[in-house]
Symmetry: C2
DNA sequence: TAAGTGTACTAATTGAATTAGTACACTTAT
DNA sequence: ATAAGTGTACTAATTCAATTAGTACACTTA
């Protein structure tokens, strides 16, 4: 369900947080779905339970999951967070545009590129 | 000329490399311009000369600057690197598009956003 | 010759991330 | 009641990259 990239220089717990965030905001994991237990996932990924715990703590802090002691972690109702995630993506787009314009790339070129990506979509990647 | 962001989790030498890369590919620093000396810049930024040296070594390895022993570091002819930099930006755009499409954002929405950024350009930022 | 430049090297320090180990509280099923 | 599974909380040790510190050497220019 989740894969760690050891070539990635970011902390493992951060990668775990991001992967789950994507699964949740993109609807793969739905509200009330049960998250894998801390210990289970730790064994699955061959990393320390503390690292998973830290990731789950972060996900809870940010509202993506909630905890029931003794029962486990569950996905929250994240409808509200989808807008937040969209904003995040637009923010990233803004940065790319800034860099692009500074480097002399035109809005037209960017738009053409979007169309190309759109065409090639659903290709087997990553 | 350069500013370090201590809130940024990336290594200092990497930040230095990036800042100079931008100055160079965007034409602020031109071919044959003299780079600040390792020691001067170290004092200016209040960081260790070794860190600057590492950054300069990286810039040289990547072809952005060249070294003349005893004289200093100078900006290379970077015309060829501008294409490389453009590709990099398009690559970043591709990633944003992928995320966007997965999150249900349409190509049209992305294009509209580009126009908005284009309008607000040359605003006093960073 | 003196001052300024880059280069090379080793050692020490720092700090975050990760791992290791333990203990405790709660829930569920038996 | 008991056992197994769950989350939580702590402290200590380890690992690793980045950074700092210090020194020495070679070259260029004035």
């Amino acid at each position: 369900m989740i894969l760690i990239d050891y070539k990635d220089s970011r902390p493992i717990y951060e990668q775990v947080v991001d992967k789950f965030r994507l699964l949740i905001v993109n609807g793969v994991l739905k509200a009330e779905d049960k998250m894998p237990s801390v210990r289970t996932l730790a064994v699955e990924l061959s990393i320390n339970p503390n690292t998973i715990q830290r990731a789950y703590g972060e996900l809870e802090r940010r509202g993506y999951i909630y905890t029931v002691k003794g029962r486990g972690n569950f996905v929250s109702d994240t409808e509200g967070y989808k807008d937040e995630y969209r904003s995040e993506i637009f923010g990233r787009l803004d940065e790319v545009c800034d860099s692009a314009f500074k480097a002399g790339i035109t809005a037209g070129e960017l738009k053409d590129r979007i169309d190309k990506v759109k065409e090639g979509e659903s290709d087997d990647k990553d």
